[in-house]
Amino acid sequence: MVNYDQLIFEISKPGRSAYRVAKADVCDKPIESIIPAGLLRETSLELPEVSEPQLVRHYTLLSQKNFGVDTGFYPLGSCTMKYNPKLNEDMAGFSGFAALHPQQKTQQTQGALELMYDLSAMLSEIGGMDAFTLQPAAGAHGELTGLMIMKAYHESRGDQKRTKIIVPDSAHGTNPASANVAGFDIVEIKSTRMGEIDLESLKAALGDDIAGLMLTNPNTLGLFDRNIVEIARLVHEAGGLLYYDGANLNAILGQTRPGDMGFDVVHYNLHKTFSTPHGGGGPGSGPVGVKAFLEPFLPTPVVIKSESSYDLSYDRPLSIGKVKSFYGNFGILVRAYTFILSMGAEGLKRASEMAVLNASYIQEKLKDHYQVFANTKCKHEFVLAGLKGELTQCSTLDVAKRLLDYGYHPPTIYFPLIVPNAIMIEPTESESLETLDDFIDIMIKISEEADTNPEALKQAPTTTPIRRVDEIRAARTPILKWEPTPATSEEA
């Protein structure tokens, strides 16, 4: 059934239904009397009509095509696809959390507020920051929030000239995108071959028009920027602020802290570092932490603690305002809180060490079989520069597609942009030595196939329901919606 490929519209039969709606016991008004004529559809609405078993089978079969951390190894670099413990789900499922309504009075939600207050304190301690907002719904939303805080800070001081954000060329694409959305102009600076900030480029870019610098550390090559203290000094000296993109936080948990490196604003991705579900219905969560001098700018409401109770404070005149409805993705906060408590400080530190060890182990085992870009010890992830051999007929994309045939989710490819043919591997701490060894064997096998049987790579994937997609055609002439064909439509 893995080849099941029907759309729900294709199994539809007129008149079939999964549920019988009771006859209305209020008077039935014609729709034209409720909705203005200009807003009404002119054509009939094409909805699928199926029975309940058909409906359940359809979506169950589709769900079986899913690949996730519960089904296999998912070494997607820069995404930290660690295992999501089921204990997190149990805690988030408690009715005291799951059945809360966001508009309940705070007297009735003291437990939830306490959790948010404590989680903020834990995240502050982990990052060496002073205060957190839990509102942002994902990493890029956190970036936007952090940048808006930086902007509000400069403007509150009457410093209107700071309209630019510096972003290194190795940054995640979200960094310049978020800065642009926040109304800044982007100044891109060069990285060194090790993906570190080029200090001369930085110095040249700094000035009284710079609002701040966005940085990931370890950087996108999985290498720690050794000049971070000097970078922070230079940026601060020029009157700018330092923004820490927490994408790679998993590498440094319990080892060092962005706050200690000199960062003023950080965001974490709870769906990366703190084991909450990642993508595909997550939802995400991107809390933002700040140093004390930026606390007045945090979004409202802020959870505050008095002697006897927790409360929500809206009275913050310098706040940038709300960035999300209510209080963020609360169910995700419960999961991250559960993870932190169940790991403990020692556990988080150990997780980070294992994440680095696992990445280093794979890197060491693959370095004779693929092009190495930065020949040095990595942190939680590393980047290969594609297959060896100038004459290889196979590309990084072919390697990634071939991995699908062997049951693995491919690594991140062609990122970071500073590495040609990049293959970016991040195993996380979750995996056993056996899983790592199996993956290494397959990666070596694929590198050999590239020489002995390149067609196997070029044709891949052959075992998945959808084979190699024609990406050019898909991008140039995409079919974005289903339309009835004459065979399935009565009107046609």
């Binding site: 062609y414 942009l417 990406e471 050019i472 991008a475 140039r476």
Partner: protein, 127 residues
Amino acid sequence: MKTVEGLYYSKDHEWLKIEGDTGIIGISDHAQHSLGDIVYVEVPEEDDHFDAGDSFGTIESVKAASDLLMPVGGTVLEVNESLEDEPGSVNSAPYESWIIKIKFDDVSELEALLDAAGYTAFCEEEA
């Protein structure tokens, strides 16, 4: 890598052809080759004005999206509507597939641009 004699080239890999007061702008063969298969070209509106170095649109390939940068300052006279349906023509005929026509601001800005031989040398240096 192909170049065409008589065109001006920017270090951002745009070409500029002068016809009277009008400048015609596209991207070089080197640029289309590095980008790979082009799937979308976002063009500005007529009468928009841009300075030299400003982004006047974006070009998307299956690999990446890149800014299109003005080789000289000017006001948009005409955009190549056919690229909406045929973005791939930038790959197959980069020097025929112009993107915008402009009325340029200042003829002296041409001095900052390269000729075909200079551009070829620049690309070789960069590689």
